[in-house]
């Protein structure tokens, strides 16, 4: 560099000053095109990044709409299943408890008929007075002379009446006894009737208790159908919870699968060979993995056949007989695989013991027989049998995870898009600010010619206006901060722009100080916006349009 400067003869102070002066003059002369170029570049990047941001935001909006559809659709399906299950329960309850209602009705009718009959029979019937009582009464009115046959006749009549009364009383008492007997016989019927009615009431109460739950589910279902924001929020929250819970359960299942894998990988080498490979993987390891995957698949089919999960519409649409057969078959395969795993686990124990014995003999160590080794063997066998069934249940959290992941992944994707859009807007804003800063930096570099230009202009203006100096920057700043609220309102908000006197009136303050004193910029953008760059009217703020 120094050599180059020497070659050009710029090795002395005058030479350097000359070069600097020429450079400044060149920069001063090229000020307008340079400013325009920098502004154009800034406008280009600003526009490009804003366009990209807007495009990303549109994609995000489409994704959000898709998420909303997915949430509502999944929620509707889940809610339908819940309602279906609730109605199925009620159906079962009604079928179980009220299917015998005709028989119950008949029993109740019979019991009521019997009670009514007994009641009718037990009604008190007063004994009818004998018909000859009137004749006796007439005879009894005959005056008595205490003599002879009349007295005897009367005495006989009296005896007869006494006997008749006694017979009547006997008959009445008998009738009462019969009536009491009938009433006594009614008692168990009453009790039975009471028990029957209590049972019916209890069943009705159970049925009634389910109604509010169904009402709540129906309310949510209606909101989902109406696509309300509340339903969407509730469903989103519910799916997020499901995602987390199902994820945790799946992680546990993966750990279980890992243990299961190690339990059967070594003994599998006895079956498929320990020295063969499929690519970089041992065939025995692949076989163990396949067995575990088959167990999980069987578990999924079993859960599908039992209608606990609904991942395969084909299985769900099968008729009940076929479905029951599938339950039996998948369960049988699962049990067989569990048995195989149990045997493999036992074989693993034997192989490990053999390997240990060999290693001990090779290293010269004494073989130690432990008495409680069988516990480990049994433990491994039990684990080998139980783990397949545990893995089979992974279908339930898997289904929840898949359904919830549609929503949660959609949300995450939306969040990512929003972040990208924000980043693009920030970059656009930065491009605009940098272009502005660059133009100012350019002016700083050529401040000397600019200052000279200003001085010349001021002098010309003084000459043109008869010796009144225009305000310099310092004066303009000081005068612009003088708020004369008590002053009478001038004809215009801003007066005497040429002299730099800027008086802010109360009207102007009420209008938010939107008026400006620059005269030529009326109707343009406010002072706090973009003074240097003219962007399209619909472009708005560079950060938040």
């Amino acid at each position: 560099m120094t050599e180059l400067l020497n070659q050009w003869g710029i090795n002395s102070l005058p030479g350097i000053l000359l070069v600097l002066t020429l450079g400044l003059l060149f920069l001063y002369a090229a000020r307008e095109p340079a400013h325009a170029a920098v502004r154009g570049l800034g406008r280009f990047f600003h526009g490009a990044f804003r366009l990209a941001s807007r495009s990303v935001m549109k994609a995000e909006q489409r994704l959000q709409e898709r998420n909303r559809q997915v949430v509502l659709s999944s929620g509707r399906e889940a809610q339908e299943r819940l309602l279906e299950r609730e109605f199925q329960r009620i159906h079962d309850m009604v079928q179980r408890d009220l299917s015998g209602y005709p028989a119950l009705n008949r029993t109740l009718s019979e019991q009521l008929t019997r009670i009514e009959e007994d009641y009718r029979q037990s009604t008190e019937v007063p004994p009818q007075p004998p018909e000859w009582l009137a004749a006796v009464e007439a005879v009894a009115r005959i005056p008595s002379s205490d003599t002879g046959a009349v007295a005897d006749i009367l005495a006989d009549i009296h005896d007869t009446l006494t006997r008749a009364q006694k017979d009547s009383m006997e008959a009445y008492r008998k009738s009462c006894r019969t009536r009491h007997g009938l009433l006594k016989r009614m008692l168990p019927y009453w009790r039975r009737l009471s028990n029957t009615m209590t049972a019916v009431e209890r069943k009705m109460t159970d049925l009634d208790a389910r109604i509010p739950a169904i009402d709540r589910q129906m309310q949510l279902y209606e909101e989902i159908l109406a696509k309300t924001d509340r339903a969407e929020r509730e469903l989103t929250s519910s799916f997020t919870t499901q995602f987390v819970v199902a994820g945790v359960v799946l992680a546990i299942a993966v750990l279980g699968g890992f243990i299961n894998f190690h339990l059967i990988a070594l003994p599998m080498s006895e079956m498929v060979g320990g020295g063969s490979y499929l690519g970089p993987l041992k065939t025995a390891d692949v076989a163990a993995l396949v067995i575990i995957l088959v167990e999980i698949a069987m578990g999924i089919f079993l859960m599908e056949s039992l209608r606990i999960t609904r991942m395969f519409p084909a299985i769900h649409a099968m008729d009940d007989q076929m479905r029951r057969r599938m339950v039996v078959v998948t369960f049988a395969i699962l049990a067989a695989l569990a048995g195989v795993e149990s045997a493999l686990a036992y074989m693993r124990d034997l192989l490990a013991a053999d390997k240990e014995a060999l290693t001990r003999s090779l290293t010269g160590g004494a073989t130690v027989e432990t008495g409680f080794r069988w516990i480990a063997s049994v433990g491994q066998m039990v684990m080998g049998f139980v783990l397949p069934f545990a893995l089979a249940c992974v279908a339930i959290p898997l289904e929840s995870f898949i359904h919830a992941s549609r929503v949660v992944l959609g949300m995450l994707a939306g969040l990512t898009l929003r972040t990208i859009a924000l980043g693009l807007r920030l970059i656009a804003s930065a491009a605009w600010q940098i272009s502005r800063f660059m133009t100012q930096l350019y002016d700083v570099a050529i401040f000397l010619p600019l200052w000279v230009e200003n001085a010349i202009r001021r002098r010309r203006a003084v000459t043109a206006q008869g010796g009144i100096a225009p305000p310099v920057l310092h004066d303009a700043v000081e005068t612009s901060l003088k708020f004369d609220l008590r002053a009478a309102a001038p004809p215009a908000d801003v007066t005497d722009a040429a002299e730099g006197e800027r008086v802010v009136t109360p009207d102007a303050i009420e209008r938010g100080g939107r008026s400006r004193g620059d005269g030529g910029r009326r109707g343009g953008k406010s002072a706090g916006d973009k003074p240097d760059l003219d962007f399209p009217p619909d472009s708005g703020s560079p950060v938040f349009p």
């Binding site: 020295g275 690519g279 970089p280 698949a297 991942m311 003999s361 090779l362």
Partner: protein, 214 residues
């Protein structure tokens, strides 16, 4: 879902098996020097073989041969085996193999000369025959070759990416007087191995053998 998983497994297996066709089996050929006083080191050699038996698995190959006066011969192979694919069978074979090595150690006699080159060539042929993906040639010797007059051992070596491990390279009396002899001996063998496309390593501490076969 299951279809997707199965497809994924098939694709992974297919892609890996297409790209990885090399054998994963290991083959080890152990050369035991029985010349001169080195025959007394046979117990150390047994420990090495025991270690190899413990480390090698189903499908791996192991051969033990002695280095005697003229070693380029199958007769010098004490025992060789490719272990069964079944771990239980492989364990039984290892026991039988160890018995054979024990018997050899009890009946071994020292040889008059030391034909290391011939033994190495024999070992390389064996390793090539096994077709194993990873090959080791363990040389349990002081690396001092002593050929008969009429034996020619000049040829171009081809080690085919074999790992040659010199174990227990003891210092001779002459090495003590002039260590340059020892260094020259080791360097000569290193150059032979590495120029033939092999990998050379010297291990004098037996416990470090574990670092080779991991």
């Amino acid at each position: 879902m299951i279809r997707v998983l199965l497809t994924l497994v098939v694709v992974i297996l297919g892609s890996t098996s297409c790209t990885d066709t090399r054998s994963h089996a290991r083959a080890v050929f152990v050369l035991l020097d029985i010349s001169g006083t080195y025959v007394n080191e046979i117990d150390k050699a047994r420990r090495i073989v025991d270690y190899l038996l413990a480390v090698l698995g189903p499908g791996d190959s192991l051969a033990v041969a002695r280095i005697d006066s003229a070693s380029f011969s199958e007769k010098d192979i004490v025992a060789s085996i490719t272990f069964s694919d079944r771990p239980s069978m492989a364990n039984a074979e290892k026991r039988a193999y160890r018995a054979a090595i024990d018997k050899f150690a009890q009946t071994v006699r020292q040889s008059g000369h030391t034909d290391i080159s011939g033994a190495m060539l024999q070992g390389l042929e064996y390793l090539e025959e096994t077709g194993a993906g990873t090959r080791y040639l363990f040389v349990f010797s002081d690396l001092q070759e002593d050929l008969k007059n009429d034996h020619v051992r000049q040829w171009t070596w081809n080690f085919h990416d074999t790992h040659v491990v010199a174990i227990n390279v003891t210092k001779l009396d002459s090495d003590n007087r002039d260590p340059r002899e020892y260094l020259s001996r080791v360097t000569d063998w290193r150059e032979k191995v590495e120029s033939g496309g092999g990998h050379w390593r010297v291990i004098n501490e037996l416990s470090h053998v574990e670092q080779v076969l991991r």
